[in-house]
């Protein structure tokens, strides 16, 4: 069962919200509705389900409604319509007391500008969520300290937030959210205010924390690179609507519409695509069955100057060149072992493409793609360049 599920969640800011929703149904755009009713559509019928333990990224440009959407999930903003199910309970129908209970126990939030309380020390900040639940002093300071240890700030307990750097402040924000031991972390552009190097560190740490703590994370960002880096699944938003939900690969390789495609164009594809995406089915000869004659024949058929050699289990042995094969044929050599060359370049299937790029530049023959020593494909130079150029012919069936 999903831990968070949004069903037709909508938010219209302004007075004529019902009318605005009706006009949305009739297919009017956000701008038209603003002109007609004076209301702004924040989120338009967003539906998605977040499974326990996944990092679900909601991404979109500014004004796409992503920050509104995350605030609808913990009802910092009242939804106009639709429901938010947390563990199957509808948050939108709860009274204040039940809502507080859910916020205290299940949902914690990390903010873009950290939102630390400047009059409290680091420890007191991390304690806040427990303090308002009247957790006894000792217990809450123990839990808060644990959370601060976890983010690497165990030595800064008595500092005030403004004495810390941005990255450290956001760690405090993260510790404050973790101290409650929530089921779901809502992170609203949590790393956007940090400089790029620190942001990358924080992303790595978040992934580490996630793998040890198994929390569900809903992460808001406007940065597609960040989304692709940390997201198990990504929901792309535009004008308040969710336009595509999928794994990073699905979104990159199969953009649902022009908008997504445009978005994806700017991404450095070399960081995302792997050997598996761009490899082709290899032509091979079996060293146990075939001799130079068959090898030469296959190369002629396919117009190749070399061919990969495998054994019966498709373990990669090496390659033979056309020149060697015709020499051997003249000398009537029957065994491919005699002419087998083993100086072949191998990459694993999940090697990132920008690594392959440097490898293939120094290699005269196609690069072999292996998975546990078993040959699964080859990469020719043209395919790498085509993929970097955003060629949609990239073969995802291989993934």
């Amino acid at each position: 069962m999903p831990i968070i599920e949004a069903k037709d969640l909508s938010k219209v800011f302004g007075k004529n919200s019902k009318q605005a929703l009706k006009l949305l149904d009739e297919g009017l755009t956000k701008e038209d509705i603003l002109k007609e009713t004076g209301s702004t559509v924040g989120v338009n019928r967003a539906s998605f389900a977040v499974e326990p333990g996944e990092i679900f990224v909601i991404m979109g440009l500014s004004g796409s409604g992503k920050s509104t959407l995350v605030r609808l999930i913990n009802r910092l903003i009242e939804p106009t319509e639709g429901s938010i199910l947390v563990d199957g309970q509808d948050l939108a129908r709860m009274d204040k007391k039940q809502l507080r209970q859910i916020r205290r126990e299940k949902l914690s939030m990390v903010f873009q500008r950290f939102a630390l309380f400047p009059n409290r020390t680091v420890l007191q900040n991390a304690e806040y969520g427990l303090e308002i639940q009247d957790v006894p002093k000792e217990e809450r300071s123990k839990k808060a300290k644990e959370a601060l240890e976890m983010v690497g700030l165990g030595g800064y307990l008595d500092q005030k937030p403004d004495q810390l750097s941005g990255g450290m402040q956001q760690r405090v924000g993260l510790a404050r959210a973790l101290a409650n031991d929530p089921e779901v972390l809502l992170m609203d552009e949590a790393f956007s205010a940090l400089d790029p190097l620190i942001r990358k560190d924080m992303q790595d740490e978040l992934i580490d924390l996630q793998s040890t703590m198994k929390k569900t994370i809903i992460f808001i960002t406007h940065d597609l690179d960040e989304a692709l880096r940390i997201g198990d699944r990504i929901a792309l938003m535009k004008d308040g609507s969710v336009v595509q939900i999928g794994t990073p690969e699905e979104i990159l390789v199969n953009p649902a519409n022009d908008y997504v495609e445009k978005f994806v164009e700017d991404v450095d594809r070399s960081k995302i695509l792997t050997a598996g995406h761009i490899m082709k089915r290899p032509e091979t000869v079996n060293i146990e069955k075939h001799g130079p004659r068959v090898a030469l024949e296959r190369m002629r058929e396919e117009g190749l100057s070399s061919i990969l050699v495998v054994d019966a289990k498709r373990n990669l042995k090496g390659y033979v060149t056309a020149d060697d094969a015709s020499e051997a044929k003249k000398k009537d050599v029957r065994d491919l072992h005699e002419i087998l060359r083993t100086d072949i370049t191998k990459v694993e299937k999940d090697t990132a493409m920008h690594d392959i790029f440097t490898i293939i530049n120094g290699s005269p023959i196609p690069v072999a793609v292996v998975e546990n020593e078993r040959l699964v494909g080859i990469i020719v130079r043209g395919a790498v360049i085509a993929a970097l150029a955003g060629d949609s012919e990239v073969n995802i069936e291989n993934v």
């Binding site: 605030r71 913990n74 910092l76 507080r100 209970q101 859910i102 916020r103 205290r104 949902l107 914690s108 939030m109 903010f111 873009q112 500008r113 950290f114 939102a115 630390l116 309380f117 400047p118 009059n119 806040y128 969520g129 303090e131 308002i132 639940q133 404050r176 409650n180 809502l186």
Partner: protein
């Protein structure tokens, strides 16, 4: 009905008469409130000034106030020396009793202003309707010439310290209300969201986040309130409030420049001490 309207046009709307009737009505109807306040609060204020402040030997009190100034200002010698010399000068000029009356008046008026003003400010910050209603009332209170409140003050509370405090309250409470409202509204939206997102109740949000964040602004308002109630000292003396103000007033009536100046200096010294102390309380929190 029509005749009344016609009369209003020809003879003028009887605003003055109406106000008088209203004040009389209030006085009669609420005398069960005003009379005990007049009696008990008056007695209480006399007790504070005559049986506490004036019983303490002046030099001990001067020393105590200087020490308070020293610690509250964050161990600054300037204000400490000023308190010591300034208060000594007032005593030296023979205005000690008047000073004690003035301090009682100003302190009680300020404390009451804060007790009344801060909650009203909080209410304003929480409700747009309350803000829309209260704001014009504050404007009215601050722009109406201070002498005008003296009339109902006397009507309700007779003469003496109590109507003086009442007039000061009306004149001096608005800054505390306004600054409290402003301070809370200025608390960053993310901080308020953070406190809500963790499941704070309204009261927890107010006391753990909003008021601590707004403290500096509220303190600036309280400082203004104290200064305004000091400026009411002379005006309040016109309805019999004792203290330095009364000396200024009687010097004016006798056209006696010297005593008027000395009593005036006494008020200035008190103002500077109170201002510096409340301001440094504020800046200390900011650091």
């Amino acid at each position: 009905m029509f005749n009344t309207l016609k009369e209003w046009f020809t003879e003028g709307i009887p605003l003055a008469e109406g106000t008088e009737a209203f004040v009389d009505w209030v006085k009669e109807t609420f005398s069960f409130i005003f009379n005990p306040i007049k009696e008990h609060f008056g007695t209480f204020m006399e007790w504070v000034s005559e049986d506490i402040l004036m019983v303490i030997p002046p030099f001990i009190l001067i020393l105590v106030l200087a020490i308070i100034a020293f610690f509250v200002s964050g161990k600054r010698w300037g204000i400490t020396a000023f308190t010591l010399i300034g208060l000594w000068l007032i005593h030296n000029q023979g205005y000690w009793e008047q000073l004690m009356s003035t301090i009682t008046l100003v302190l009680l008026a300020s404390i009451l202003s804060v007790i009344i003003g801060v909650p009203i400010g909080i209410l304003m910050s929480k409700s747009k309707t309350a803000e829309a209603i209260i704001k014009p009332i504050l404007d009215f209170m601050q722009t109406m010439p201070a002498f005008v409140y003296l009339i109902p003050a006397v009507a309700f509370f007779g003469i003496g310290m109590v109507p003086g405090v009442f007039a000061s309250l009306i004149f001096a409470t608005p800054p505390t209300v306004r600054f409290t409202n402003l301070g809370i509204r200025q608390v960053s939206k993310e901080l308020v969201e953070a406190s809500e997102a963790f499941g704070s109740t309204g009261a927890q949000k107010l006391f753990k986040v909003e008021l601590p964040m707004a403290k500096a602004t509220i303190m600036a308002g309280i400082n203004q309130t104290i200064m305004l109630s000091l400026s009411m000292v002379v005006i309040a003396s016109m309805i019999g409030a004792p203290g330095l103000g009364r000396e200024v007033l009687s010097s004016l009536q006798r056209s006696n420049v010297g005593t008027g100046f000395v009593a005036g200096i006494g008020i200035v010294i008190l103002a500077i001490i109170m201002d510096r102390i409340t301001q440094s309380m504020n800046s200390k929190q900011n650091n």
